[in-house]
């Protein structure tokens, strides 16, 4: 499928150019910086809608492809395209961006143009990550993203931001260096940097294992998986609200996307051999991290840990296919887990974004994230209480919200792969509800805890609009997930074939 114009390039470069304009023209003019960024974000979102409308659901081939030579000496191309796995993530990015810009409207007073510019540039780069089909292009977007995020946390972050940024940067940077090495090896074997060529080339077992591990380090850090997850709570706690939203809603998804775009299709045999490792780490994330979340006293840390646990469902769902095939002899049941993982990514984008925005609303008013500083917020902020409980229920996977769909699918599929996978994954029903609703009880419910809470103002129009938009999407996707799943089927089926076809 393609349109008459290069839609993917538009989606990448429009925000980046807008970001640069804001950066240079917005100095000393915060009003312009805000409105221009918002306008660009809305325009990008509208321009991204044709991706869904014109998407051909019958094929797993790349669509809206753009391909020109970039550095011919090394056969590096400017090669873009989306399929059913990446298209929803692009839409998630453009959608979230509008809310991210709106959320920072009044909070950021210092160097607004740099803040807005950084986020606009980040958006372009994130879309670049999800659409790049040349591995070097992918790598450039992937690494370039670190810089604006690093600046956002380092400049507008909390008191321990230096520690947090360093941790964030080192983790992700060290992780991705291994990925680059893997790309270079693959290039020397195939003479191309095209990811699609990587998918097709045969690779020996030893090489596959090494490549798989290199990818694993890069993606595991991004997701993040146990035990390389400790950068995330720190980064979230220090990041400004919008930074947390982008981090949780989109950047974490790049890791999950990496597994389906690189690990499974490029190294299927190694994935099969090492699937126990990923499944084990995913289950640890689901069970262990949930208990860690239970005792957090900082709201952002709690939600950060809950993100790790929820992302455990993503990695679990992706790697269930091998156990299912070896147990039952065919892939029936695996697509449910894989699609569940994809749905979980999109849903987690909305829900974690909503949770961090909600915490931001409180933080803007009280300047603390400590659970103990709150109590009885609903008395003074009834609408906020309504949305907070709704998002918390979504986070606890209540049916009728998007949070349920992915978890449900992955639990069903996990049970098929191995009874114990299902049992351990299903513990989220209890512990996930426990940490989320216990926080709600202490923050939202109860009698007014102190004078600051008594003085709280309910949501203003802007905040209400942001919350209502997210609430609408979360419920819509929970009540009717089919439109999202429809676009994935062909690509997921193709991915399962790739993942189960030996390359030796």
């Amino acid at each position: 499928m393609s349109l008459g114009y290069p839609i993917l390039s538009t989606l990448i470069w429009l925000p980046i150019i807008a970001g640069l304009i804001v950066l240079f023209a917005g100095r000393n003019n915060p009003g312009f910086a805000k409105w221009f960024s918002l306008g660009a974000a809305v325009l990008t979102f509208i321009l991204s809608l044709p991706l869904y409308v014109a998407f051909d659901t019958t094929t797993s081939a790349m669509q809206f492809v753009e391909r020109v030579s970039w550095i011919p000496q090394y056969n590096i191309e400017y090669f873009l395209g989306v399929d059913g796995l990446s298209m929803p993530l692009v839409l998630l990015t453009t959608f979230t961006q509008v809310l991210v810009i709106a959320s920072a409207w009044t909070v950021i007073k210092d160097r607004v143009e740099q803040y807005m510019g950084a986020f606009m540039i980040m958006q372009g780069l994130m879309i670049g990550v999800f659409t790049a089909l040349d591995s070097i292009l992918f790598y450039v977007f992937w690494e370039a993203l670190l810089i604006p995020m690093f600046i956002v946390i380092g400049k507008w972050g909390g008191p321990k931001r230096v520690y947090a940024t360093l941790k964030f940067f080192l983790y992700t940077f060290l992780g991705s260096v291994f990925m680059l090495v893997a790309f270079l090896y693959l290039f020397f074997q195939s003479g191309s940097f095209s990811i699609l060529d990587f998918h097709a080339m045969p690779i020996g077992m030893t090489a596959q294992i090494l490549i798989f591990l290199a990818f694993l380090i890069a993606f595991a850090v991004k997701i993040p998986m146990f035990p390389v997850h400790t950068w995330l709570p720190d980064a979230h706690v220090e990041a400004p609200t919008a930074g947390s939203v982008v981090l949780a809603a989109i950047m974490l998804k790049m890791g999950g996307y990496g597994f389906v775009r690189f690990s499974l299709p490029i190294t299927p045999d190694a994935s099969m051999t090492l699937d126990w490792l990923i499944i084990g780490l995913s289950l640890i994330a689901i069970v262990y991290i949930a208990f860690v979340a239970l005792i957090q006293t900082d709201m952002k840390k709690l939600v950060a840990y809950s993100s790790i646990a929820h992302m455990g469902f993503v990695t679990l769902g992706i790697f269930l296919v091998y156990s299912i095939v070896s147990k039952t002899g065919d892939v029936q049941g695996a697509a449910l887990g894989m699609e569940g993982a994809m749905v979980q990514m999109i849903s987690h984008g909305f829900i974690s974004g909503a949770m961090f925005l909600a915490i931001g609303v409180l933080y803007d008013r009280m300047h603390t994230r400590e659970i103990g500083a709150y109590g009885g917020v609903v008395n003074t902020m009834p609408w906020f209480g309504f949305f907070a409980v709704l998002f918390a229920m979504a986070n606890a996977g209540l049916p009728g919200t998007s949070g349920f769909v992915g978890e449900f699918m992955v639990i069903l599929s996990a049970f098929k792969a191995n009874v114990w996978f299902g049992v351990l994954a299903a513990t989220t029903l209890i512990v996930g509800a426990a940490y989320t609703l216990w926080m709600i009880k202490r923050v939202i419910f109860g009698s007014v805890a102190n004078e600051e809470v008594a003085k709280l103002q309910d949501l203003n129009r802007r905040e209400f609009a942001i919350m209502a938009t997210l609430a609408f999407v979360i419920i819509l996707l929970g009540v009717w997930p089919n439109p999202l799943l429809e676009v994935m089927h062909s690509s997921v089926d193709n991915l399962l074939i790739q993942a189960t076809t030996s390359k030796l």
Binding site: E143, I147, F150, I151, G154, Y163, T165, L166, L170, Y171, F173, V177, L180, L184, P227, T230, Y288, F291, V292, L294, I295, Q332, G333, A335, L336, E339, N379, M393, L398, P399, G400, F404, V405, F408, M409, I411, L412, A414, F415, K416, V419, G422, A426, T427, L429, I430, A433, A434, L437, K441, F445, G446, S447, V479, W480, P481, N482, L485, E486, H489
Partner: protein, 657 residues
């Protein structure tokens, strides 16, 4: 046409709820209760039509999809309707009781101590009531496990919101969190049960599931090496664990007594009449699967009988009027569950129906007493209320007679069917269960009439003497009267069709070898009057009367006797006061244990091993380097520079390769 009617029945309360919930301030109190009551009236009237069509005219079972929720892995997950006599009956009960509660609420929630008049609590309450009605309807009308689970969790959500309705009270918001989490423990089993349905039957649709049941009659599974279990048994027990949460069977019953923190109308609607019977309904709905596992049925029978007896005992020592009724609900749920275990699904559903009416009646009457007593709930401070509130008095009397199974009242027919069925079944543990249930009959009569005498008869307490106590307004008493009618007469019409198996013939499957009700019908039933007369010749009725008599003796005639017993049996009293210690056990093992585990994971593994050991070693070294760089820079933007250096390094590596 039927499809359209069903859709309207389902969605009408949802729209009512949205109107009252999101636009409550705009439409005001009148607008909110008018909108929600109208929406529920629509559902009730149409449900009555559907009920008539199915129960009297024997309409064809209707099974159709409303829309496709999703397609994945080639399986369609649909939202739809399965309507037969079982569904139609539940629909009418849910909408009718809900309507009564809606009307009653106008009077009950008019004034509230927790909220001042500017708060839109009144509209919110109506919104929740209608939302509950929608959720419960989607549960009972479901034609598949997915929608069942949706309704299951949605009623749990509304229950959570309503238990915590007085959100300033610490006790209320603790109770609702507890209710939600204990239910989630049940749901943990439930969702694994659903996963098993998916894994072995490749569908979540009821009908397809029933059609394929025979294929797996002998399939075995092994999840602990060396031990083999029947797939069907494991599956239905997992599903039943969900029912144990929702229908508050031991040991997952601990949330129900505390759910009384919610306002009384919802105790009647949710925690007595409808939601807590969802588990019973689910087992009856899935009777074809349960019939295939004798082990699961025996397990259900014993759990139910234990709950019936042990929870009844706790009713004796409660002094909060609502808690007495709550423990009685727990105990009656045990009866229903035990009937399921005896394969007497129809009797169990029969008891669900009669119980829905007489227990809603008792709760709403208790609420009426609470209004009159200005929100005092302690029965020791009441007494002699008969004179002041005659309608409520008669409501409680009729409700209690139905509850204890006095011959001729609705509860007599349903409870006697259960007792006869459990007596007849030859399942494992049946004689043990029967003994417990018989003793339960005595206990039920004792605690019911203990409350009845203490509240309405005897000396007026100081409070009653010193305050003006008067009967509640019409919006309160009319629902009481309307609920009293079915509580008294329903049994006369239903006993014959239920015992003969005709009533639920299109919905419930019972293996001929398990069909105790048919056996009773054949051997012990001539006509309704005969059945009543027969009741007088059997033990349960006399046990019930003995319970009433003893309550009268203890609390009217010789109040010194119970006090003396209490002082003599301190240990037994201690056990009962602490409700067998379930709460303490859960608190120590699960609550404190989880927190301790979380703290250990976080402090020892996350912080010490990973962060201090692996990460900060590295970060500290880099940090030192950063300090070095910072000193060599003139500005304070050291981290920008740091990024550039790393970027350069990356480029360099790339170029050199």
């Amino acid at each position: 046409m039927l499809h359209f009617i069903l859709t309207v029945i389902l969605l009408s309360p949802l729209f009512g709820s949205i109107a009252a919930g999101l636009f409550g301030r705009k439409i005001g109190r009148r607008g909110a209760h008018s909108a929600t009551i109208f929406s529920v009236v629509v559902s009730t009237v149409l449900s009555a039509y559907v009920f008539f069509e199915y129960v009297f005219n024997g309409a064809e079972v209707y099974n159709a999809a409303l829309y496709t929720w999703m397609v994945s892995d080639g399986i369609r997950f649909e939202i739809g309707f399965l309507v037969d006599s079982l569904t139609a009956t539940m629909m009418l009960v849910v909408t009718f009781v809900s309507l009564m509660v809606h009307i009653y609420t106008i009077g009950y929630m008019d004034h509230d101590e927790d909220y001042d008049h500017s708060n839109a609590y009144y509209q919110r309450f109506f919104s929740y009531l209608s939302l509950f009605t929608f959720s419960m309807l989607s549960l009972v009308m479901a034609n598949n496990f997915l929608q069942l689970f949706f309704g299951w969790e949605a009623v749990g959500l509304v229950s959570y919101l309503l238990i915590g309705f007085y959100m300033k009270r610490e006790s209320a918001i603790t109770a609702n969190l507890k209710a939600f989490l204990v239910n989630r423990v049940g749901d943990f089993g439930f969702i694994l049960g659903i996963a098993m349905v998916f894994v072995y039957f490749n569908t979540l649709d009821y009908q397809e599931f029933f059609d394929r049941l025979a294929e797996h009659e002998h399939t075995m599974m092994s999840f602990i090496p060396g031990l083999e279990w029947s797939v069907i048994t494991v599956m239905v027990i997992l599903l039943f664990i969900g029912a144990m949460g929702k229908s508050a069977q031991m040991p997952l019953h601990v949330w129900l007594p505390e759910s009384m923190e919610g306002p009384t109308p919802i105790s009647a609607l949710i925690h007595a009449a409808t939601m807590v019977t969802a588990g019973i309904f689910m087992v009856a709905r899935l009777s074809p699967a349960y019939e295939m596992s004798e082990a699961a049925l025996a397990f259900i029978l014993v759990v139910g009988a234990l709950t019936a007896f042990m929870m009844g005992l706790l009713g004796i020592i409660q002094n909060d009027i609502k808690r007495v009724v709550a423990y009685s609900t727990l105990s009656q749920l045990g009866y229903m569950t035990a009937a399921l275990g005896a394969s007497a699904y129809a009797a169990s559903m029969f008891h669900v129906l009669t119980h829905a009416f007489f227990k809603a009646l008792l709760f709403l009457a208790a609420g009426s007493v609470i209004i009159a007593m200005h929100h005092i709930q302690d029965i020791r401070q009441m007494g002699g209320l008969k004179r002041h509130m005659p309608v409520t008095y008669w409501a409680v009397l009729l409700g209690s007679l139905a509850l204890i199974g006095f011959p001729g009242f609705s509860g007599f027919f349903s409870k006697d069917s259960i007792l006869l069925a459990v007596n007849q079944t030859d399942s494992w543990g049946s004689s043990f269960a029967y003994t417990l249930l018989l003793m339960g009959v005595f206990v039920t009569a004792f605690y019911s009439f203990r409350m009845f005498f203490l509240v309405f008869h005897g000396e007026e307490s100081d409070y009653v003497k010193s305050h003006k106590i008067h009967e509640s307004p019409k919006v309160v008493t009319v629902p009481l009267i309307l609920l009293a009618i079915p509580s008294v007469v329903l049994g006369w019409f239903m006993i014959e069709p239920v015992l003969s198996g005709r009533y639920f013939a299109d919905a419930i499957t019972v293996l001929p070898s398990h069909d105790v009700l048919a056996n009773i019908y054949a051997t012990q039933f001539d006509n309704v009057l005969g059945f009543i007369m027969h009741g007088f010749m059997t033990l349960p009725v006399w046990l019930a009367l003995a319970g009433v008599a003893l309550a009268w003796l203890f609390y009217m005639k010789r109040p010194d006797i119970p006090a003396w017993i209490q002082s003599k049996c301190t240990r037994a009293n201690y056990v009962l006061e602490n409700a067998y210690g379930f709460d303490r056990f859960n608190d120590i093992v699960f609550v404190k244990g989880s927190l301790r585990l979380g703290r250990f994971f976080w402090r020892s593994i996350d912080m010490r091993v990973i962060d201090t050991g692996m990460v900060n070693g590295t970060v500290r070294r880099v940090s030192d380097m950063a300090t070095m760089f910072r000193e060599s820079q003139t500005g304070y933007m050291y981290h920008y520079a740091f990024v550039m250096i790393f970027g350069l390094l990356g480029l360099l590596i790339w170029a050199l390769w």
